[in-house]
């Protein structure tokens, strides 16, 4: 026994290292554990509070650029609003003619980004709204420019969101012009990738990718980005499509969380079908 203790003392550095490495791997494998969620929620609350205090310091370098961008955006949006108003009226008229249901509108809650963690591809944002404001895990985050990400953790007053540029982010998407379906993901590059689009499908550079109606989390027709490059590799069934997101993550400061829960009847039905399968 004494010999064993001597060995442990002799190599204590290695035993400590091994212990912490094992604990780290256990934590990595229990990311969805409720206890881990509870600790994460508490830590987000504490760190979010300090981040919020830091957030009162304005980034003066960005203010001028933001101002210009917002002015241009305001002009474009007011023009688009006018055209959309007319289109909506026409749409309502046509839908009533063919007896279609009107799309459900969703409730959005505005939020300030009080922290950005873009270090080593981690790519998350901390928002100054949380469970007290109705925010729950998996709720979509959008901005006036388009899709930003989704909520992955929330405390009472703060929440953390995963952005499009994260390896764990996937969203069902479609090409607005041709209604071709695919999946938007990120592979570590400068742009997003639109995957699972067969070579036979019609996709062109300049096409707009929007969220599809098949997603349980994201509402349909939210703009994701623009197709900028299409390549076809010999021996591959699918096109390699690069998409530039509409949202400029470097200057993003305010977002909206869609706090309307997804259609529970649809979700329950889909889950029951999955269980039968």
């Amino acid at each position: 026994m004494q010999r064993l203790i001597n060995i442990i003392l002799l190599f204590k550095e290695y035993f400590i290292l091994a212990g912490f490495v094992i604990v780290s791997f256990i934590l990595l494998y229990s990311n969805n554990n409720p206890q881990i969620h509870a600790i994460r929620s508490y830590t987000i609350g504490v760190i979010g509070f300090v981040q919020n205090a830091f957030a009162i310091v304005p980034n003066v370098f960005e203010l001028k650029r933001d101002n210009e961008v917002l002015r241009k955006l305001a002009v474009n949006l007011s023009d688009e609003v006018n055209r959309l108003r007319e289109a909506r009226l026409e749409n309502l008229r046509l839908r009533s003619m063919v007896g279609f249901k009107e799309h459900t509108s969703f409730k959005v809650t505005p939020a300030d980004i009080v922290g950005k963690n873009m270090h080593l591809m981690r790519n998350t944002i901390t928002l100054n709204i949380g469970e007290d404001d109705g925010v729950r895990t998996d709720m979509p985050i959008i901005s006036e420019a388009g899709l930003v990400g989704k909520i992955i953790a929330a405390s009472g007053r703060y929440s953390v969101g995963l952005v499009l540029f994260n390896k764990d982010f996937r969203v069902g998407a479609k090409i607005q012009r041709t209604r071709v379906d695919g999946i938007i993901a990120w592979d570590g590059g400068a742009n997003l990738r639109l995957k699972n689009i067969p070579k036979t499908q019609d996709v062109k550079e300049g096409d707009i990718a929007v969220t599809s109606e098949y997603s349980r989390i994201f509402p349909p027709e939210v703009k994701i980005g623009v197709v900028v490059k299409i390549t076809e590799q010999p021996g591959n069934l699918f096109k390699d499509i690069e998409v530039v997101p509409n949202v400029d993550f470097s200057s993003l400061e305010q977002v909206f969380v869609i706090t309307t829960p997804p259609d529970s009847e649809k979700t329950a039905l889909e889950e029951s079908v999955m269980k039968i399968k």
Partner: protein
Amino acid sequence: MGKHLKYFIVSFFLIVFQIEVVSLLSLKDITPDILTIWIVYIALQRGQIAATIWGFCIGLIFDFGAGNFIGLSALSKTIVGFAAGYFYGENKALLFLGSYRFVLIVLIVSFIHNAVYFAVYTFGSDITALAAVFQIGLATAFYTAAITLLPMFYFSRKLSLYHG
């Protein structure tokens, strides 16, 4: 006890600083890792065991604060503490901290950190681990080493005052 409380308070504020302020220093999405510099400082001041323990604790708090991949920074920063601990020499802390050896140690352990980090992070994803290590990991290591020049000059001045 007082020393550990000081380490905890400094670590906590550096974590918030890393998330909130260091992103403003990003060059082409590459940000320096000030937590690695801090762990190397602890390693040179207190030795391998203290640095390994603090590396784990700092990494874990950062993981919880970042909200995803709980355990990833804990793992990589534990290894940073352990690796940096090899450069510990009794009564030589200031000598190391005030010379280019500090920058070199940060560069080496930062690269090890990023190699471990991306090996786990990219596992099972479309991102290639080698590309991530050599593009983002290497650039981050050099940027972190460059930032280390600031505390190095501070300790260098302290060292010259101590000898002078």
